[in-house]
């Protein structure tokens, strides 16, 4: 008996980003607001971070709400119906459920059911991870059109009184639709991780710590252990970072990754119309521009001044704004690079939609 030959999906040779959408929540947090919580000044914050305001979402706006807003715009711009989506990917670290995923709910809201839907946990590299995934799914033929969303409500996981990271962060969502293309629109992704720096950025507690401390604190009501009760006041996990370690890694290692992404695409810095790095800190952006020796013809995304650092949402938000302010950049080549907690990183050159 001969073994029958299996069918496999036909490949798509090329892919590109077909459309982009953004959602910016409307609560503006100024540096003056921040200075109510930490001992600082508008000048100090601007000088060290380049941030002037951040957008944050009100209590009744969720990660999924923001993702939906960005996704609807991206689909409309791409001219793609929900029923055409072959996968829905949400990159986020602030969806407040370990399961079910934000993506499954988003797919349902959009009317994309039964498209496969899953979340990616890759922090500030999440969007570039999503692009790497979406590109691979479309080229392999596993999906024809893929929705990739970066959505974060970081204001839910910060402690406004701490000084390492909270004052940098904002909320928002950006989304793109990836689909087949006649010409190459997404160059090879240079992506990776360095878990040896797992502690450099992350949450103050695990969920198991929360469970155990909560149980112990409840018992201490009867034993009167005040120290434990006090610790339990700070039960909720929030973000922290070792700023120096992260800054050095971002400037030094990420400039190399960005260079590798250019080489992988087979282009030079002069061929770019835009550089869209993760909006972590204006000083990191400035240093990367210097290290990459980008010519002045390359427009550098600096959305961070108004939006703050929005983790997985920062690159699509910055791209959306860049295209709104400079529509002529559409069709040009952009280098994008995300990097963050893990540590993880991802970079690729794309054709701007």
């Amino acid at each position: 008996m001969s073994t029958p030959v299996l069918k496999q999906t036909p490949l798509n040779e090329h892919t590109r980003i077909l459309g982009i959408g953004a959602y910016r929540p409307d609560v503006l947090v100024t540096n003056e607001d921040v200075c109510q919580w930490i001992d600082s000044s508008d000048e100090w914050i601007r000088q060290r971070t380049g941030i002037v305001t951040r957008h944050r979402a009100p209590a009744d706006v969720s990660v999924i709400d923001m993702a939906e807003g960005a996704a609807r715009e991206a689909m409309e711009k791409a001219g793609i119906e929900a029923s055409q989506l072959g996968a829905v990917i949400v990159s986020t670290v602030t969806h407040p459920y370990a399961t079910p995923s934000a993506a499954a709910s988003l797919a349902d809201r959009l009317g994309a059911t039964p498209a496969p839907a899953f979340d990616i946990s890759a922090a500030c590299a999440g969007y570039c991870y999503g692009i790497a995934q979406g590109d691979a799914l479309v080229r392999s033929g596993a999906a024809n059109y893929v929705l990739v969303v970066g959505a974060e409500k970081l204001s839910d996981v910060i402690d406004n009184r701490e000084r390492t990271i909270s004052f940098l962060l904002g909320d928002g969502a950006g989304a793109v639709v990836i689909g087949p293309s006649d010409t190459p629109g997404i160059a090879p992704s240079v992506w990776g991780s360095d878990g040896s720096k797992w502690d450099a950025i992350g949450m103050t507690r695990s969920m198991l710590d929360v469970r155990d401390l909560g149980l112990a604190a409840r018992r201490s009501d009867s034993t009167g252990d005040l120290a434990l009760l006090e610790e339990a006041q700070e039960l909720y996990p929030t973000l922290r970072q070792d700023g120096q370690t992260v800054f050095r890694w971002a400037v030094w290692e990420m400039a190399k990754v960005a260079q590798q992404a250019l080489e992988a695409a087979g282009i030079q810095a002069e061929d770019l119309v835009a550089f869209i790095p993760h909006q972590a800190n204006m000083r990191i952006i400035d240093e990367m521009v210097k290290k990459l020796k980008l010519p002045e013809t390359v427009t550098v995304a600096r959305d961070i001044a108004d939006a703050g650092n929005t983790s997985a949402a920062s690159i699509p938000l910055a791209t959306h704004r860049l295209l709104q302010e400079n529509p002529a950049l559409s069709g040009g080549l952009a280098l994008q690079i995300g990097f963050g907690a893990g540590l993880v990183f991802g970079a690729q050159v794309i054709v701007l939609p």
Binding site: Q47, R48, G243, Q244, F247, R248, W252, R283
Partner: protein, 81 residues
Amino acid sequence: MASNEEILVGLAEIVNEETGLAPEAVELDKSFTEDLDIDSISMMTIVVNAEEKFGVRIPDEEVKNLKTVGDAVDFISNAQA
């Protein structure tokens, strides 16, 4: 291998590029924070660039011990030895 004099000149160039301070203001007894008004982020940028220029490794935990320009010159000189 660079002499301490050469390290000072190289360091002054890096500081100048990061902060705009005149290279001759970068003297051995000057404190990075007090005298040269260099903040923590600029300091990390200077450290990263010094590592590249002098081919040495300056660990994060060492950076806080580099209070003066002279401390940095000594550290780089020893690391190169």
